[in-house]
């Protein structure tokens, strides 16, 4: 179980490779990667991600611990960046390892759903029109209800 909150970019291929090859009791590894989505108009210059140092790590640790209680997880990895990110850059990733795929898939989705609405990150988009904080979506809050 590892949680990293960092400004620097990460190497997705290397992270997933290292995660998968480190497993000794898993038969399934699932990875989700979030990237900076451009606007429909394609005019996104950058996204700035702010977070709450300290609370971010403790919130992610709590979410991870809950996932480990609910599913048979052998390992997990959460990486989330903050600072300035350009379109198409990787924002974050989660990886889960379980004996079987259902646990790995469901735990990854659970981690994502909770991370989106309960970990203290905020996104601000900068386009040619100016800057705007990204609003939380009702759908993201509703996603928690299924768990």
């Amino acid at each position: 179980m590892a949680i990293r909150v960092q400004e620097a970019a990460f190497d997705l291929g290397a992270e997933v490779q290292d995660f998968a090859t480190a497993q000794t009791q898993a038969g399934a590894v699932v990875n989700f990667t979030g990237i900076v989505r451009n606007t429909a108009a394609g005019d996104l210059d950058r996204m700035e991600i702010e977070h709450y140092p300290g609370m971010t790590e403790s919130a992610l640790t709590a979410i991870d611990a809950e996932a480990t209680k609910r599913w048979v997880l052998k390992d997990s990895l959460i990486i989330h960046r903050y600072g300035i990110l350009r379109p198409n850059e990787m924002i974050m990733m989660v990886a889960t390892a379980a004996p079987h795929r259902v646990d790995a898939f469901e735990a990854a989705q659970y981690l994502m759903d909770y991370l989106k609405s309960r970990a203290p990150f905020w996104k601000k988009e900068f386009t040619t029109d100016g800057a705007e904080w990204v609003d939380a979506k009702d759908a993201d809050e509703d996603a928690l209800l299924k768990w």
């Binding site: 979030g34 702010e50 977070h51 709450y52 300290g54 609370m55 403790s58 919130a59 989330h80 924002i91 974050m92 994502m112 991370l115 989106k116 609405s117 309960r118 970990a119 203290p120 990150f121 905020w122 996104k123 601000k124 904080w133 990204v134 609003d135 939380a136 809050e141």
Partner: protein, 82 residues
Amino acid sequence: MIDVLYFAWVRERIGLPKEQVETTAATVAELVSELKLREERYAAAFEDISALRVAVDQELCEFDAPLAGAREVAFFPPMTGG
């Protein structure tokens, strides 16, 4: 003395990320009432608390949460990670 932190547009509206506040407020809601009386920028930031979230000592809580023994209170909009 309690550390009060602001994030995202709450930080921008109030104009600072963190300050120390001398307060006798028993709950988060009472602290908000005190802050709103300070200056227009606070009143604007806290105009609609249904649009805000709060954490006491880095744990999400409700606005009626007690402040007894609290070291740090943070106000911010709903989170948008991932």
